[in-house]
């Protein structure tokens, strides 16, 4: 399984691997929003938590359809399914690799982009923490969606539609945590709920995704 993780990370960092895709999108969004909304610091400060979380979510979504589709196209998925590694483990490892190349860099870059959006100073730690707690759920839920649509040509649109409703709780609690911190309130409750979503999806969705993959491989 470690070999699979290393391979996926290596592929992501090689040319055309899509490592910069989510991060670039996130950066573009954070640069463009102040230009579109106007330079008023108060307005920007109010919308910053939501914009940052929506941006992180969409950036995650951007690279999801490659998660299993590439392995399906070149036949690796068939071979992985017949390998000694359980398919549930394959799903979990690939979701972890996806998080490591999208969610984690997004969480690390978010404070810098928070400055561009005039995020209140009290919220930076919560912003990073909420993204680190919440983005694994985005990758895991996304892996489930990608497993459902793996056999489809151009399944990206269907994938987005399937995944978006499942992303909503994560977005609501994530943005809420940052908003509360920005207003000087205690963000613990939404953070705990966020961690709960991540723990629950990590525990359950590998099994659901592996089941979907088995059906799609037939």
């Amino acid at each position: 399984m470690i070999a699979l993780l290393i391979r996926d990370l290596r592929l992501a960092f090689r040319a055309g691997g899509g490592f910069g895709l989510g991060l670039g999108f996130f950066l573009i969004l954070a640069v463009l929003v102040p230009l579109g909304v106007g330079p008023d610091p108060v307005t920007l400060g109010i919308i910053a938590p939501g914009i940052l979380w929506v941006g992180a979510l969409l950036a995650c979504l951007l690279s999801l359809d490659r998660l299993f589709a590439l392995d399906h196209e070149d036949g690796s998925l068939d071979l992985l399914a017949t390998s000694p590694i359980p398919l549930e483990g394959v799903v979990a490892v690939k979701a972890l690799a996806h998080w490591g190349t999208t969610g984690l860099p997004l969480a690390l870059a978010a404070p810098v982009l928070g400055i561009l959006l005039n995020l209140p100073g009290a919220a930076y730690a919560t912003l990073m923490l909420s993204l680190i707690l919440g983005t694994p759920a985005l990758s895991m839920i996304g892996a489930f969606g990608a497993a459902l649509t793996v056999g489809l040509k151009r399944g990206g649109l269907l994938l987005s539609l399937l995944v978006l409703p499942m992303y909503m709780p994560t977005l609501v609690f994530g943005a809420q945590a940052v908003t509360r911190a920005a207003q000087g309130l205690d963000p613990t409750t939404p953070l705990v709920l966020l961690a709960g979503i991540t723990a629950g999806s990590t525990a359950l969705l590998p099994f659901a995704a592996a089941f979907a993959l088995r059906i799609n491989l037939r």
């Binding site: 470690i2 070999a3 699979l4 391979r7 290596r10 592929l11 090689r14 040319a15 055309g16 691997g17 392995d71 196209e73 070149d74 036949g75 690796s76 068939d78 071979l79 992985l80 399914a81 017949t82 390998s83 000694p84 590694i85 491989l217 037939r218």
Partner: protein, 205 residues
Amino acid sequence: MELRVTDLACARGGLPLIEGLSFTVAGGEALVLRGPNGSGKTTLLRTLAGLQPALSGEISCPPEQMTYAAHADGLKATLSVAENLSFWAAIHGQRDIAPALDAMNLADLAERPAQSLSAGQKRRLGLARLLVTGRWLWVLDEPTVSLDADSVALFAAVVRGHLAQGGAALMATHIDLGLAEARVLELAPYKAGLPADLGFDEAFL
């Protein structure tokens, strides 16, 4: 070690293709599947490999003892030949890829990215993967596609070496590998009856 298939029926896209098929392959044996396009060779091999369920019948050997090689080689274009092979070796708990590289004449290409290989070289790399899985039964779907005559002979020697070590091979192929000892199984007699109005659809294959 023996694979025993009893009264197997399998379907592709919900359409029954093969029924009443029984055969055995023991260690040291090679069995070649023959049949016209659409006779269900790929479907049979995928069923044996555990990628799809059989409609009915029994397969004595669990998929964990087989390794499946299909039309697609499962190569990553941006990884080198050695990296691709090392990955599959690690997945199967093996370390040493040098014998496999030598056997398929890939040692000189080890550092090349897979995207710069020719179709035949890619195929050879895909087949080298069989050697690093450490499994006794090879389930091969058209293993010789895009191989030249020399590479076919090379691969035949690799298969023969595998059989000599007590392994077995089950392959669907149209060309003669020069494996004199291989038995041939014609699939045509086991063709499942189709509903009259449905006819034959190549898109299912």
